[in-house]
Amino acid sequence: MLLNLTPWILLFPFLGFLSIGLIGRALPKALITWIACGTVAISLLLAAADLWSMISVAPAQRLAVWYGWNWVTAGSFKVDFALINDPLTAIMLLVVTGVGFLIHVYSHGYMHDDPGFWRYFSYLNFFIFAMCLLVAADNYLFLLIGWAGVGLASYLLIGFWYTRPSAVAAARKAFVVNVIGDFGMMIAIFLLFEHFGTLAYGGILNRRIVTHTFAANSGVLIAITLLLFLAATAKSAQLPLHVWLPDAMEGPTPVSALIHAATMVTAGVYLVARSQVLYTQAPAALGVVAWIGGITAIFAASIGLVQNDIKRILAYSTISQLGYMFMAEGAYDYTAGMFHLMTHAFFKALLFLAAGSVIHAIGGEQDIRKMGGLWKKLPYTFWTFVVAGLAISAIFPFAGFFSKDEILTALLKAGLQYGTAYYALWAIGLITAGLTGFYIFRLIFVTFLGDYRGTAPGAAHIHDSSIHESPPVMIVPMLILAVLSIVGGWIFTPFSNLLAPQLAPAPVISLPPSLQGLSIGLSLLFAIGGIAVAWLMYGRQQWRAVVNRNPLYLLLFNKYYIDELYHTIIVQPVVKLGKAADTAIEGLTLDGGSRAIGWISARTSSTLRLLQTGYVRNYALAFLVGAVLVVLYYVARP
């Protein structure tokens, strides 16, 4: 029997957010953690139950809608608060609550000494609630509500240490860039309502309805799909709206792990997968999706090659891997994209948690040039980092190998079926795999091997310093994620059996084994090659400070100067416009207008006041003049 426990899955984190938010300031830290982790744990169990109940049901019947109540009715515009349980939602809920739970537990250790402990867990629970609402919504309106909710949670958590100007600026930047996407989504929703008459998935995402309403590649449908993709681009940090994600590393590291690696940034991938019926009917838009994904993947990987902040390298890595997911979706293989979403959630969250463990151990330092030699002091962190690194580099038999190869295979299949442009994307995917291997192992070697180059409290020599491994509450979630990063890729067949009936738009051809073997072999070659180059450059010898004036290096190091470009082209004109408007509209019109009204009153009264002389005889004269005028009026009236 198919369950739909989604309302409860949403309810518990929401209650956690409210209770901790309202009274958390007075509660002991242990209780806050129990409430926060407890609510997410309950949601996790319920999500697992939902998924389990789905397995025993036939594919065509895997849809259960929980109808809450009518949310708004305005004329013909009717939207209900309803939640669905279907394979896509069930898998997303499991990933969100599962990784979310592990990160909640880890956060207890990481944020333990922070005075804003209760605020942090309140926001984190709110995030889980909003993300679950996003993926479980039955219609585009509640998707948008969840979308905005996770944007809000992201803003609150990036700017968590709000006394830091850089954090506040980063939070603002994230929110402003995301609003661009929200705008796109809203216009798309307007268009959807106009053409489908409803916003519920049941009335839109049906192959028969879509093909009946729109011709293939019709202009309006391309507009809708591209606008939805604009929202996905903003939320999932693809080119050109990727600029907020590296800055978002100002937030606490568990936040980066949860929101900016595993869950929120995957909302864009979910959106495209959910709307696959629309995208399949607009192949031109799907081409845009694939190309932006591909270009972003290689672009971000290239920047990650030369960064020195441990979290920024991982941020660019996230952007790059999200590009892979969009490439898969653009190649009509939404299942592969979702699979990579899941495995990426495992190993990217692990990478961030391990990085957090390192940062926590050496007292807040994030620059890898000031690390080194940590592998003996932080063994668990080191080995989980290596596992995650192998997973992201797509080395057999780790999880990333299976998911990345599914994507590359999908690109080849699309090349055979839909056009040779996809071969170019396949090549981009291969090159990026090599870059991925390089940058992640550069990170590992520089951080953990060699001599310690930092100034952590303790002593000059690392053996005598007080650097020690993180507490179990942080290590155990990392270990769990490490296991998932190893075995997570082995479940592709059941995963595909669950999702493909919902997401696969057309009968997928199978690739001749020789081509598949070529793809797998080349991807392994590139990845191992990348790792080998990293070993040669960073593993074998000590890291040395070198002043590099190579123009290509500078271009990559400065992130292709895109932030500076946006600043000059967009930010400065807007700020100038704002200041001009402030002077003209605020200063002249509003201020001036209201002051002018006051001035008029004052002048009028000071003029009229001259009549009040206080002399009785003046007043008598006024009477007389008035009386005469009245009489004259009546005499002269015809």
């Binding site: 009549l611 009040q612 206080g614 009785v616 005889r617 008598a620």
Partner: protein, 99 residues
């Protein structure tokens, strides 16, 4: 006698009274001028009453006379109280309500 004669007298009296109110500075004299104006109006009312044969005229005169008497009483009381405090008889000096 033609009614116009009486009316001209009434108009002249009214004008003299009006000018008197405006020019004289002693409050008692101003009151006298006001009484003059009122009685000039009384005269014209009576004239019309007689020459139109209507009773409305002299009934109104009664009212005006009554009101004039009451007004004089109140007015003189005010003037006396002002004189007691300020010892002024010049109306131009009473300008403290100046705006």
């Amino acid at each position: 006698m033609p009614p116009s004669a009486y009316l001209i007298v009434s108009a002249v009296l009214f004008t003299i009274g009006g000018v008197g109110v405006l020019i004289r500075r002693n409050p008692l004299v101003m009151f006298m001028a006001i009484e003059l104006m009122l009685n000039a109006v009384n005269l014209s009312f009576m004239t019309f009453s007689r020459y139109l044969g209507s009773a409305d005229g002299w009934v109104f005169v009664f009212l005006v006379l009554t009101v004039a008497a009451a007004e004089v009483v109140v007015g003189l009381a005010i003037i006396v109280s002002i004189f007691r405090t300020r010892h002024e008889v010049d109306v131009d000096e009473l300008n403290s309500l100046q705006g």
